[in-house]
Symmetry: C2
Subunit: 136 residues, 2 copies
């Protein structure tokens, strides 16, 4: 089973987001273990991230992936840590220590919405790896 740790800012304020995230987490049961570390402030996020040995940052200026490429990145590792910044993005100190910067899109998304997009891509990554019908 893959283990994904996601470090981010904020709470699930919006109920639709909570529902959507839990739906994808349900689908991932037994396939991928998602651990959310949600911090209140950028300074708390920084402290938590810098305690990790290895991590990737989500950043609009990072490397672009197709869903197939993202699937390879995810399924080549038994465990991976991903960082989603808050409204002000991710601190440079964090970025320079990251294994890589990953771009989900050149568009800017809210960081809450990014969590949903990421979770759907993680589910898609597994389905691509399995060769299922989910990703046509």
């Amino acid at each position: 089973m893959y283990r994904i740790k996601i470090i981010s800012i904020g709470k699930n304020k919006e109920s639709w987001l909570k529902t959507a995230l839990s739906e994808y987490e349900k689908r991932l049961t037994g396939l991928m273990q998602i651990q959310w570390l949600l911090k209140k402030k950028d300074s708390d996020l920084k402290k938590t991230v810098l305690e990790e040995k290895k991590f990737h940052c989500l950043d609009p200026n990072g490397i672009s992936y197709t869903s197939e490429g993202f699937s390879k990145l995810i399924t080549q590792n038994a465990s991976i840590t991903l960082v989603i910044g808050g409204a002000l993005g991710i601190d440079d100190t964090i970025k320079t220590k990251a294994q890589s910067l990953i771009s989900l899109s050149p568009l800017t998304f809210t960081h809450q919405h990014t969590r949903l997009i990421l979770l759907e891509q993680l589910y898609r990554a597994i389905e691509i790896h399995k060769g299922s019908d989910y990703h046509k």
Copy 2:
């Protein structure tokens, strides 16, 4: 007020999606009028799209935009028609008649999820144009 027509496949099956879409539509009240034309089948979509004089297609192989660039595209036109394909993508006959192909990301999203991402970007487009704090 901007008028956006979105032609797509499917219904709002998932309740979280309904809630999320209606939240952004509420925010857009008075700024942008969103008209959804949701078709049951690809053939119905094709017929409806080809009745339009001008339209853009959302396609992973299309032109990439930053949110700022997308804002310009949207706010330069009083009205615009956007097509989101179904699970099998958009028919080539439709694509060749499109004004342009727009890519939201090289990643593949579900077409239902694409509707939410698009709606958030339309709201963001307006806020960027207004110079508000929404897009930092």
